[in-house]
């Protein structure tokens, strides 16, 4: 993981922590399985990721698996950035 990805991971962790100040979770923890996310949170995560990282997540990448942990979202963002850079 390079420094860009580390920074992205920190930003994602910060967004989740801001919404759930009491939550304790590791970067690889499944935040949906931990149960502290609300019903709207998946869409809020999508809105956050797309705005904060200036990406558009393609439909085929939008899945619970890609949103369920900080690590998964970091990988999703990196993939979207690579795809955008390749264009």
């Amino acid at each position: 993981m390079d420094t860009v990805e580390l920074a992205a991971g920190a930003d994602i962790r910060g967004f989740i922590a801001a919404g759930f100040p009491d939550a304790r979770f590791a970067d690889t923890d499944d935040i949906f399985q931990l149960g502290f996310v609300s019903s709207l949170f998946a869409m809020q995560l999508v809105l956050f990721l797309e705005r904060h990282f200036a990406i558009q997540i393609p439909n085929e990448q939008l899945s619970l698996d890609n949103l369920r942990s900080v690590a998964a979202m970091t990988g999703l963002v990196a993939g979207c950035r690579r795809a955008a850079g390749a264009c």
Partner: protein, 460 residues
């Protein structure tokens, strides 16, 4: 535009111009639409001229490309004139937004220009006889088959469903809730394409056969229901299509390319108009049943299996902003009518407006109107900024505005007395419409739970 600075949709000017159109062409006829349970075809055309069907369609795809603030202002003004017309534009805009946001390039190119002009009108199919906003209870099934999908189920309370040429249908697939673009046109078992009358084109009335009229529960076969004195050009609510009935002639403009409904043998989409509703009576509400409806693989909109947290929540967010803004319009209409009536109505030595209890009701109406408008503006601002908090802001705006509209309309009827109970009364119609606003796009109680859940977020 509608916030004061930007150009207004279809008028090239500002909110004042939109208000002028609503006051001249919509509000004076709203009672007649309500009584007839229909909106005339010529008004549907007029909305197309104004570009209001395509309010949320990007300019590059043929729409007005309004931002959320402009959309909210437009829907407030239209909702002030006629809640049913607002509802038709709102439901259509939900589908427009969903395709703009989640559509593939091919889907966008195919549908958006047609939706932007209103040549194709769209309905939003989520609610079922046994499931509302609770997607876990959806019974409509989507099953993969070679080359595409098969849909079976029933959707109900689809605003604009009567006359819609396209439905956004949410169904349960093996891997989760999935959104489908379902053209109303289907192929009969003989392989004959039947095309829906679209965009309220005159002539769609001619598609109603005796059999379809019976199925729609409407006595007689032509003309508007009720006797509102509206010129008889109104579109009949509903264009019920039943597999096996006579071929329906294409009126003008088609819903899309033939074949988009899948290979031959797929009948499957049946639309049945609802009538006699409490409110939003001219909203062309219909039920849709899907019986072995065959769709190609590219009918899926957005992420397959993951539509509930994405396409669905996003489209409902648009719908809630429209409903909330429409409630601001209802409040403004009730306030204007109540001030006018109470200032003129003689009571004792003075007028009703001299009475302090009346003045208190006016104060609450004025304050609720301003507060609801601000909540809508805040939700729109956050939406336009792409802020994750926009979703809850929209829930709050809709919750407050619908409850306030219901209170305010009840007060307005109280102020009007018997006049508010008369046939054709503006405040009486607002009272019925406002109650429906407390139920659609999430009931007041569901909104309370969601808003409270957000307040408790992070605590278990």
């Amino acid at each position: 535009m509608l916030t004061g600075e930007r150009p207004a949709p279809g008028t090239g000017t500002d909110r004042v111009a939109v208000r002028r159109v609503v006051d001249a062409e919509i509000a004076p006829h709203a009672a007649a639409f309500d009584a007839a349970e229909a909106v005339p075809a010529r008004l549907l055309h007029r909305l197309a001229e104004l570009g209001w069907w395509g309010a949320l369609v990007p300019a590059g795809d043929g729409g007005l490309g309004l931002d959320s603030a402009g959309f909210a202002a437009l829907h407030e003004e239209v909702g002030r004139g006629c809640a049913s017309v607002r509802a038709l534009l709102g439901a259509h805009s939900m589908v427009c937004w969903a395709i703009s946001r989640w559509g593939s390039p091919a889907q966008r190119a195919h549908w958006l220009p047609e939706l932007a002009t209103g040549r194709v009108r769209a309905g939003f199919g989520l609610t079922e006889p046994g499931a509302g906003t609770d997607t876990a209870a959806l019974a409509c099934r989507a099953v993969r088959r070679p080359g595409g999908w098969r849909l079976d189920g029933a959707k109900t309370w689809i605003t604009g469903g009567a006359g819609a040429a396209l439905f956004l249908i949410f169904a349960r697939a093996d891997d989760g809730v999935t959104a489908f673009l379902v053209p109303a046109e289907t192929l009969s078992s003989a392989g004959t394409t039947r095309t829906s009358g679209t965009a309220g084109i005159p002539g769609s009335a001619g598609t109603r056969t005796a059999e379809t009229a019976r199925a729609a529960g409407i006595p007689g076969t032509a003309g508007m229901r009720g006797s509102a004195g509206t010129p008889g050009t109104a579109e009949i609510p509903g264009s019920t299509r039943i597999p096996g009935t006579a071929e329906i002639p294409d009126s003008a403009g088609t819903a899309g390319p033939s074949g988009s409904a899948g290979p031959s043998g797929s009948a499957g989409v049946r639309v049945t108009a609802r009538s006699g509703l409490l409110g939003l009576r001219a909203g062309l509400v219909a039920d849709v049943s899907l019986d072995g409806c065959l769709l190609p693989a590219d009918a899926v909109l957005g992420p397959a299996g993951f539509a509930a947290p994405t396409v669905l929540i996003g489209a409902l967010d648009v719908g809630r902003l429209s409903v909330a803004s429409g409630c601001v319009g209802i409040l403004q209409a009730c306030l204007d009518a109540s001030v006018d009536h109470s200032a003129r109505r003689r009571h004792g030595a003075g007028t009703l407006s001299d009475r302090q209890l009346v003045r208190r009701m006016i104060a609450d109406l004025a304050t609720d109107t301003a507060a609801a408008r601000l909540l809508c503006a805040e939700a729109a601002r956050l939406r336009d900024a792409g802020d994750p908090d926009s979703l809850v802001a929209t829930w709050r705006a809709k919750y407050f505005a619908a409850a306030a509209a219901q209170r305010g309309a009840a007060a307005a009827v109280q102020i009007h007395g018997a006049a508010g109970c008369a046939a054709g009364s503006l405040v009486g119609r607002c009272y019925r419409d406002a109650k429906v606003m407390e139920l659609i796009e999430g009931s007041t109680e569901v909104e309370q739970l969601v808003i409270a859940d957000e307040a408790y977020r992070g605590r278990r």
